[in-house]
Symmetry: C2
């Protein structure tokens, strides 16, 4: 991760709250808090205690308080947190105050599903363009978006100021696609292909590999079954993340 701190962080005019550099573990949990908060808000809650929010997000309450304290002091002792205010704060920190456009490359099995996934739209993102290398898929209309040929990628990414790319191609094509995305100016990539991507410094990559998740569960299954015939409960819940 980046180590640089903005030179003038202390004593700034507070016009913009300034991004504190959060621990990566905290960043990974903020979206979960955000989801829980929206849920609470829909249920009509105006305030929520750290205990309550922690339960809704499935974490320890001390951890939650520490996470939120990194954003600043937005709770009231004896009362709890203002739900609406906290939502605003987290959305600001996560950069969700502006809807972010993403480019989705690879409209196969998984790509199709992602293109149609409503959760992106409701949580701050807009799929701005679909690409595929297969000419037979180009022109297809998915959810109101037309699939374009990947050769148009650079032009459209630039025109729409897209900074995030999603790769849902086979692993063999993923590196080439990543290279094209980076060349077009994308600086964050979500990779669903089961392979490691090499990208320049300054480009962030996150990977989601569905088979890996199952293999991790398989390990725990294996472990449990090799422990049968032992007295006492096993006690395992919410493995890893």
């Amino acid at each position: 991760m980046s180590q640089h701190r903005p030179a003038g962080t202390p004593g700034r005019p507070s016009a913009v709250p300034a991004l504190p550099d959060l621990p990566e573990a905290t960043v990974a949990r903020l979206p979960e808090y955000l989801r829980a908060l929206h849920h609470l808000a829909d249920a009509g809650n105006d305030t929520i205690s750290s205990e309550g929010l922690a339960a809704a997000a499935g974490v320890n309450s001390a951890k939650l308080r520490k996470d939120l304290s990194h954003l600043g002091s937005y709770g009231t002792r004896g009362v709890g947190y203002d739900v609406a205010l906290l939502i605003d704060q987290i959305e600001y920190v996560l950069g969700l105050t502006q809807r972010r456009s993403v480019a989705l490359v690879g409209v196969g099995n998984l790509g199709h599903a992602l293109a149609g996934y409503a959760g992106f739209g409701t949580r701050g993102f807009r799929i701005a363009a679909l690409f595929d290398a297969d000419p037979r898929r180009v022109g297809e209309n998915i959810n109101g978006l037309v699939v374009r040929h990947i050769d148009e990628l650079a032009q459209i990414v630039a025109a729409e100021a897209i900074a995030i790319g999603v790769i849902a191609t086979p692993a063999t094509a993923a590196q080439a696609v990543a290279d094209r995305l980076v060349a077009a100016g994308v600086t964050s990539i979500l990779n669903f292909a089961p392979c490691v991507l090499a990208v320049p410094d300054g480009v962030d990559v996150r990977k989601v590999d569905l088979a890996i998740e199952l293999q991790i569960l398989s390990f725990h299954e294996h472990r449990k079954s090799s422990l049968t015939a032992l007295p006492g409960g096993l006690g395992a819940e919410a493995v890893g993340t």
Copy 2:
């Protein structure tokens, strides 16, 4: 996680190599090593150094050696690791020597894609049954599997000895589905619904939330853009995981 250690671990007959209790972080990386090893094997490599494998898996070589050392000593100094042997060892530890059956609940947008995803089959898993609550979907044939009504879940999970369940339903249905899976005997759940699941001790849950991944990337985008006009490179690659 489980704290119990098998009472008789030291001095066992070594008929079965015995599962060492691995650090969770190591377990999460083993599948990645496994994928890289298969790739190397396909490319005709018989042995591989920790440096080489680490590069292929996108990790630090010291970390890789420590991870593998937890499985036992399967490398040769001055030479490296025997690819085939290491594949066997990792597959054994992950419990992939037997193909594991999984039940997939929810055949919507995402469920469809998962049902058709070839990566499961090639990496140790078999989708043994599909379920949905919507009668209009029941009976549909996806990839050679017939969608069944969720009321049949208990019976089929028992009959096929299914231990792993995948939830690809809307968030509103996820907890109810999880309860039914657990009641039917499933002890590991992969949850794609954006919500927290409550399950009894002894049941493992892993969660994949696509929007959360994007939100984490969004944070880093926000951070990068608030750092422009600063001298020097930013340097960020392979954020978290």
